[in-house]
Symmetry: C2
Amino acid sequence: MSDRLVVIGGDAAGMSAASQARRLKDASELAIVVFERSRFTSYSACGIPYWVGGDVTERDALIARTPAEHRSRDIDLRLRTEVTEIDVAGSRVRARDLESGTESWTGYDKLVIATGARPIRPPLPGIDAAGVHGVQTLDDGQALIDTLDHTEGKRAVVVGAGYIGVEMAEALIQRGYDVTMVHRGPQPMSTMDPDMGALVRDAMCGMGIKVFGNAEVTELRTDEQGRVSAVVTDSAEYPADVVVLGIGVRPDTELARAAGLPLGEYGGLLTDLAMRVRGHENIWAGGDCVEVLDLVSGRERHIALGTHANKHGQIIGANVGGGYATFPGVVGTAVSKVCDLEVARTGLREKDARASGLQFVAVTIESTSRAGYYPDAATMTVKMIAERHTGRLLGVQIVGREGAGKRVDIAAVALTAHLTVDQMTALDLGYAPPFSPVWDPVLVAARKAVTAVRERR
Amino acid sequence: MSDRLVVIGGDAAGMSAASQARRLKDASELAIVVFERSRFTSYSACGIPYWVGGDVTERDALIARTPAEHRSRDIDLRLRTEVTEIDVAGSRVRARDLESGTESWTGYDKLVIATGARPIRPPLPGIDAAGVHGVQTLDDGQALIDTLDHTEGKRAVVVGAGYIGVEMAEALIQRGYDVTMVHRGPQPMSTMDPDMGALVRDAMCGMGIKVFGNAEVTELRTDEQGRVSAVVTDSAEYPADVVVLGIGVRPDTELARAAGLPLGEYGGLLTDLAMRVRGHENIWAGGDCVEVLDLVSGRERHIALGTHANKHGQIIGANVGGGYATFPGVVGTAVSKVCDLEVARTGLREKDARASGLQFVAVTIESTSRAGYYPDAATMTVKMIAERHTGRLLGVQIVGREGAGKRVDIAAVALTAHLTVDQMTALDLGYAPPFSPVWDPVLVAARKAVTAVRERR
C-alpha cells in the first residue's frame, strides 16, 4: 500500500514540495493530496504590483504552473478547499469544500504545512470599506485592478512603506495616480537603517510621491456610499479615492497553533534544518508560515519571500520523497525598486546588530554604477556594517539606480562565507567601464570599513 | 635624510602606489620620483573603446588624475621620460628624457616597477602601415580616432577576438563601420570555453559583425600610398579601410629581465604576497607587468586588468609607506560587452581545469535576467564547472543581455570562499521580479551542477 502525503497550501512552498516529491516517487509509491483555499496554484504574489502597474498585462502570466499541469502529474489537487483542523495524534486533517460547505477528514502518512502568510489588517474603522485593498493574493490584485478601472478620482494613498508599499506606489504612479504614502516609522523601508531609508524617501519625493512618516493611521473615512474617501492619521487627513494596504504580513499559523505545533517569537512554525517541524517526524513546513535561521545573528526570523518558499518546497519534497536536503538559513537579502530607484539590503542593520549584542562600525560611501566617465554612470550609496575587532561583515545596504540592487549579492555571498571586510577589499569582482568603476562600490565601502575597524580597535 | 622612492610607470599601479605612499609619508620622510614614458598619468586604458565609439566624448574624461594633481602632492613626476636600465646592485635607474635625449641615473632606496603590458604586434608584412592601429595607450586611441575621422571607406577589420577586440567591434559599429573580425581560435572570446564563445559569435553575427575564426593573419596588404587595404589570412582576404589590432598583451618586463629580476612562465614579474619582487627587499612590482596567483588553480597567471593594477598600487603604496597590506590573488573574473550582449567569466574553464589536473563536471543552463513575466526578461546562459567528488565550484561563464555580466560576481565571491555548488544552491540572493526569477540563474546552474556531481561520484 502506498503512503499518502497531504499538503496544506498550493502556492510556492506547497506545490514545489508536492512536485519534487512526485519526481522522486510515483503514484504507486506515494499518493499526494493538496488542499488549496483559492482557485490558483504556484503563483507569484511578488508579481502583483507589476500586474497592477501594467508591466505585466495578464494575470495568468503570474501563474508558474496551473492546477491542470499539477493534476497531470498525479497530484490530487483540491481547490477552494480549506483545511480547518490538523489532528496530529490522529494523523489526519479536516477540510471544508468552500463551494458546498461539506467537511471531511483525510488521513496522512506525511504532512506538509505551507499555509503562507496573512496580511496585517488592523481593526480600524473603515478598513473593510469599498476602495480599500490588500495585495496578497491574485484575487486581491484583480479586485484592486477592478477598482482602479472604475474609479474616477486619481488620489491613491498607500498605507505602509515596506517592499509592497513602495512597489505599489510605483504601480499607482504608472497608472497615473497622485500617490501619497503614510507610514509608521521615521523613514520608508524600515528594513533599512533610517539614514538609508531617508535616501529612499528623498528619491520618492523626487518622483512626485508624497511621503509622510511617523504617522499612525486611526481611521479610513468613508463617503455616503460606503466608499473610502480619506485616510486619517494621528496628525492629518489624506483624501483618497483608493487605498492600498501594505502594512506587512504575519505567518498564517492558526491551524498549527491549534494543533499544538511549535511556533517561534514571530508566530512562525519552527523546523529543523531538513524543514521538519520540530518534534514531529512526519510533518514538514516551509514558505511564509515558518521562521528561518538568520546565519548572521544566529537567531530565528520571519521573512516572507517567494525565493525562500521555493527553496523550502524543494527541500521538503526531497526529504518527503526519500532523498536528503537541508536549508542552512538566510542572511536576509532583499531587493526592490521604486521607478528607477533600486533598494537592497542583506545581513544586519545597526539596530539588529545592537539587538544581537554585537559591537560594530558602520560606514557609508557614494560611488557610481559604472566608470565615472561612462554614460549613465549613476550614483550609488553603499552602507556597510562590520563587527568590531574581527572585521567580520555584518550587513550591507545599497540605494541607487540601475546596477545598484543586485550588487547586494556580493555581500550576500560574503556574509554566507563569513568574510571579513579586509578579505572583501581583495575580492576579484567583474570590472569593465560599462559595469563598474575600477573599484567596485562594494569594494570602496569595504576599504572604508577596514579603516573604521582599525580605528576602533 | 629622507628615503627616495622611484616608481617606473605612471599609470594605475604606479601612481596608486605613489599616492598611497604619499598619504602615509610626507615629503620630509619620503621623496617620490615617478618616470613615465607618455604624457599622461592615471588613465583608463579600458575606457579607450568607449572613447573611440563615442560614448565618452573627451579624452580627458579617461584621466583619473592629471600630472598637475600628482605634482601638487609632492610627487616629482617626470613625463616623457623612459627608464632604460635598472641597476639593482647600485640601487639606481637610468632614465632618458625623450624630448632632449639626455640620460641620467637616479638612485633609489625603494623601487616600484609598474611598466605595464605591451600589445602583441606580430612581425607581419604591413603591420606598421597607415590605418593599422593598436589601442593600448591614449595616444593610440587618438591616432585611431584621427584615422576614423579622415577615412572615406567604412570597412573595418578587427584582428583578435578577446575583450579589446569585441569592445572595439562595438565601437566601430557605433561609428557606422562595416565590421569584420578575424581571429585564431575556433570561437571569439578564448577566455571562455568554445561552447560559450559560440554564443558570443552568434550574437555578434546577429549584430551584423562578420566573424571568422580559425584564421591566421599572414599579411596586411597596403595600397600605393602605403595605407592598409586588406587583411590577408591563410584562407581569405578581407578588404579594410582601417585595421584594429586586439591580439592581446604581454608583460612589459624587458627592463626587469635585463636586471635579472625573477620572471614567470608568462614573462611577468614574480612577487610575494606583499607585491615585493621575490628575493628583493626593496623592489616592488604591480599591475600588468606582474603575474598573480590564481586562487582556484594555485598557479601563477598573467591578467592585464585595471582593477588589479589599482589594487596592487594601493598595496605597494601601503607597504612602501611603512604600513602592511597583501594581495591574496585573483580568481580570474572578467566582464565585457558587445553592444547589448554581456559576457562574463570567473575561475577556470574546462581547459584550465584539465591543465590543473582537476576532474570536474560542467553544466549549462538557460534562464532569464528577471522573472519570466516581467518586461525585458532576457535570456541568459550560465555554464558552471565544479570539481568531481568535492563539488567545489571551479568556474562560471555567463552570456546574456542586461543583468548577465555582473552576476558573475556571485561566483567570484563563492570561488574566493571555496564554496561547493551544494552550498551555492542555498545562497540567499536578491529576489524581486524586476531583478531575478525566483531561482536566480546562478542558483539554477548550481542545482544542475549538484546533480551532475552526484551522478559522477
